[in-house]
């Protein structure tokens, strides 16, 4: 399965109450076009979706926060995973879409193919880490996504995905508009 297909499956299992932080580039574009709006679409700050999600999770303990990140982005901010593991915010769910590529910039290879995410994240102190291949688990991926966002406590899901072949259009909102729409929905 491609990353965008996994995001569409995620859409099927959202309650609508979750707040989603997406990593810059393709992942944010896919989140914008495939998930309910508005969410917190990062435009830059590569490596920071996990800490932004952590800050949100601390600020809003009654809300479930989902971080959607690509592998290149996750690896750039890898030490933030250790901070999250240390603090264990109960309402934070991190989903890593791993196509082993910097897709947004033309499909250059990342260093992800060599890694054991399960052992890595477990070693940082996160008990609830699941690592799956989207092709092997295609039939049950919706259930796995659902469990990740609905099971209590900090959850991390690493998913091997295929490269996306369709590039979605850029997000038309200026970042200040993204912020304002995101903050406004919290007031309702």
């Amino acid at each position: 399965m491609k990353g965008a297909e996994v995001i569409s499956k995620l859409n099927n299992v959202l309650s609508g109450e979750e707040l989603i932080v997406s990593s810059n580039g393709n992942v944010s574009r896919q989140a914008f076009h495939l998930l309910p709006q508005p969410q917190l679409y990062l435009r830059g700050s590569m490596g920071l979706p996990v800490p932004v999600g952590l800050g949100l999770a601390i600020a809003l303990p009654g809300k479930d926060i989902i971080v959607l990140t690509g592998d290149g982005n996750f690896l750039m901010g890898l030490s933030s995973m250790a901070t999250v593991a240390f603090l264990k915010p109960l309402n934070l769910k991190i989903i890593i879409l791993d196509n082993e590529l910097y897709s947004t910039t033309g499909g250059q290879e990342t260093v992800s193919s060599n890694m054991g995410y399960l052992e890595l994240v477990l070693g940082m102190g996160v008990q609830n880490i699941n690592s799956i291949d989207s092709i092997e688990k295609e039939d049950v991926i919706e259930k796995i996504l659902s469990d990740t966002i609905k099971d209590p406590g900090l959850q991390v899901l690493h998913i091997k995905v295929e490269e996306d072949t369709i590039n979605l259009e850029n997000i038309p909102w200026h970042p200040v508009e993204i912020k304002e729409r995101f903050l406004k929905q919290l007031d309702i």
Binding site: V21, N24, L40, L42, R43, G44, S45, M46, G47, L48, P49, V50, P51, V52, G53, L54, G55, L56, A57, I58, A59, L60, K63, G77, S79, S80, A82, T83, F86, L87, P175, V176, I178, K179, F182, L183, L186
Partner: protein, 166 residues
């Protein structure tokens, strides 16, 4: 040294409820007091840009305010976090940055070049900054926080040796 209880109470009274960052010895006593404070939650970050990310997410959770602590070496690490996150999305953050590389650091060459360019870096990043001094710290913080609130952008206080720790 500034009275640290008064300093923390001032920040708490101005609705700062979270702090994060990477320590500097210039903040040693401040951090001891901060970690004991029940009103401000301190999150130890692994990198300074991570701390900017945490502060940004915290603000996006209903407008909550935070301040960050870092060495001026950390200014070199937060360039992208400032320009493509906090400044781009207009997120107010109060930065306390230790001013290393001045005369008391003569035996620490690792700070000398960043010490020389610290103010130029802040100017290049377009971050307004003030020197925090014991004699008029409340007035300076009032100015900085007003600027931060009015612009909804990060602002910086430079902190020399002896101001927030013995």
């Amino acid at each position: 040294m500034i009275d640290l209880q008064e300093f923390i109470s001032y920040l708490s009274d101005h609705d700062f409820t979270l702090s994060s960052g990477v320590p500097c010895s210039y903040f040693k006593d401040l951090l001891i007091n901060l970690e004991k404070d029940p009103d401000i939650y301190y999150v130890p970050a692994t990198r300074e840009d991570e701390a900017v990310g945490i502060a940004s997410g915290y603000f996006l959770g209903d407008g909550k305010k935070s301040f960050l602590i870092m060495q001026n070496s950390g200014l070199a690490n937060i360039g992208d976090a400032l320009t493509s996150l906090a400044q781009l999305y207009k997120i107010p953050i109060l930065l306390f940055v230790s001013y290393r590389g001045l005369e008391p650091d003569n035996d620490f060459p690792e700070h000398s070049i960043m010490g020389e360019v610290t103010e130029s870096v802040l100017e290049a990043y377009k971050v307004p900054y003030w020197n925090l001094e014991e004699s008029n710290w409340i007035k300076t913080l009032d100015l900085a926080i007003n600027k931060m609130d009015k612009t909804s952008l990060p602002v910086c206080l430079l902190v020399e040796k002896g101001v927030l720790s013995e």
